[in-house]
């Protein structure tokens, strides 16, 4: 067993992908250890099933490792790329498995939608996500719930309408208004 040292923590995601691309097994291990909690956590949040979440997050890792050589840093961060791949696979699996997903009941969801305190278990690394979390906390609670359900839990507007017992038009409106405010927060952040 190799020791996890300073290098493991300091090496950039992009450097790890370069190492993975040339077959460096150490880079694979560091990358997996760095991201496994996040990818598995996202998959479990969307799917609500640890077994299926493992299958999906492992498939996401395989795709990431397989395509490490063609990652394009100009199109976004490694974190965003990895999470997006996981989300898309999880949503595909959700659609195949059942028509209407169960309502998320984990404490992180409750914390995200009802508190202005960042969840202890969220690993926020980017400069964009921090102001986004602040902006999320400032949304009206109905918009916050709709945005979180849509973006983090893969729910469609129709599913949110059922879960929240509201008309679909209202669900769409809540997502749209919430996302518009969050986008403003991101745009302001990006403006020098």
């Amino acid at each position: 067993m190799k020791h996890r040292g300073h290098f493991d923590d300091q090496v950039s995601d992009e450097a790890l992908l370069s190492g993975i691309a040339v077959g460096d097994e150490r880079a694979v291990l560091i990358f997996v250890r760095r991201y496994q909690r996040r990818l598995f956590g996202l998959a479990q949040g969307i799917l609500g099933d640890p077994g299926l979440a493992e299958d999906i997050s492992q498939e996401a890792f395989i795709r990431i490792l397989r395509h490490a050589a063609v990652f394009d840093a100009r199109r976004g961060s490694v974190t965003s790329w990895a999470l997006t791949i996981t989300r898309n696979l999880a949503i595909d699996a959700l659609r195949v498995r059942r028509a209407i997903p169960v309502a998320p009941s984990d404490w992180v969801f409750a914390n995200l939608v009802s508190s202005d305190v960042a969840p202890d278990d969220a690993v926020i690394t980017s400069d964009v996500a921090k102001p986004l979390l602040t902006a999320l906390a400032q949304l009206p609670v109905d918009q916050r719930r709709a945005v979180v359900l849509a973006s983090l839990y893969g729910r469609t507007a129709a599913e949110i309408a059922i879960e929240e017992s509201i008309p679909i038009g209202t669900a769409k409106s809540r997502i749209r208004l919430g996302m518009a405010k969050l986008r403003l927060a991101v745009v302001v952040q990006d403006t020098p």
Partner: protein
């Protein structure tokens, strides 16, 4: 308002669907309708880009969770080439593609014998890097192509087109103008990948294209040395 786009019809109708498109939850006919609109509307493509940036950033707020015991070991075994007891039951083609990708990358970056390359990445000698490009169609990125700089070269590509299943062909155009159809591969549930050795130097390839059975070009990638 004066948007710089070719087609203003339908922007209002698809505006709420754009958000679901950005969060990855839009399916079926609604998704097709949005894709068709995006192909001709620069304004909505720009709108989608900013919504997707928010949706992607929101993913960073997702809860982390401890995976089941043995997760890492199972994953690494699978990545190395499938766990022995499951090897006979898994899809051989995907394994060979993963292996081909690694071989391709290794060919592009490394000279020396295989043992040396495996022993230490730091002791390898870099040669000309492989050529990479994105397959695009009407502004949409549909995949990647990767050509080693060795002679003969290897080509490896991925292609994704929503909900499309069938056979796709790989066609390359050399800098001399010669067009070659290299082979075909299957897309299942919108995703396919393919690799092959090609009997021309990689640096002689100008463009790679994915076509359907009728020869219609689905996406093009320009390879520049």
């Amino acid at each position: 308002m004066n948007f710089d786009h070719e087609n203003t019809d339908g922007c209002e109708e698809i505006s709420s669907d754009l958000i679901e498109f950005a969060t990855g939850t839009l399916t079926g006919r609604s998704r097709t309708r949005v894709l068709e609109h995006l192909a001709t509307c620069a304004h909505c493509r720009s709108e989608l880009e900013s919504l997707a940036a928010v949706a992607d950033a929101l993913l960073e707020l997702a809860p982390a969770a401890e995976p089941p015991l043995g997760f890492e070991q199972r994953l690494v075994e699978r990545y190395r080439g499938e766990a022995p007891q499951q090897r006979a039951h898994r899809r051989v083609r995907l394994v060979s593609l993963a292996a081909a990708a690694l071989i391709l990358v290794t060919l592009g970056f490394v000279v020396g014998n295989a043992a040396t390359a495996r022993d230490s990445a730091s002791r390898t000698t870099a040669v000309a890097p492989p050529l990479t490009a994105q397959f695009t169609s009407q502004g949409r990125v549909l995949g990647n192509v990767f050509v080693s700089s060795s002679d003969p070269a290897w080509i490896y590509m991925t292609f994704e087109e929503n909900n499309w299943s069938g056979t796709a062909w790989c066609r390359v155009t050399l800098k001399s103008g010669v067009v070659k159809d290299l082979g075909n591969f299957s897309l299942t549930n919108g995703y396919g990948a393919w690799d092959a050795q090609i009997n021309v130097p990689g640096n002689q390839i100008a463009t790679a294209q994915v076509t359907n059975a009728s020869g219609q070009v689905l996406a093009t990638a320009a390879l520049t040395a």
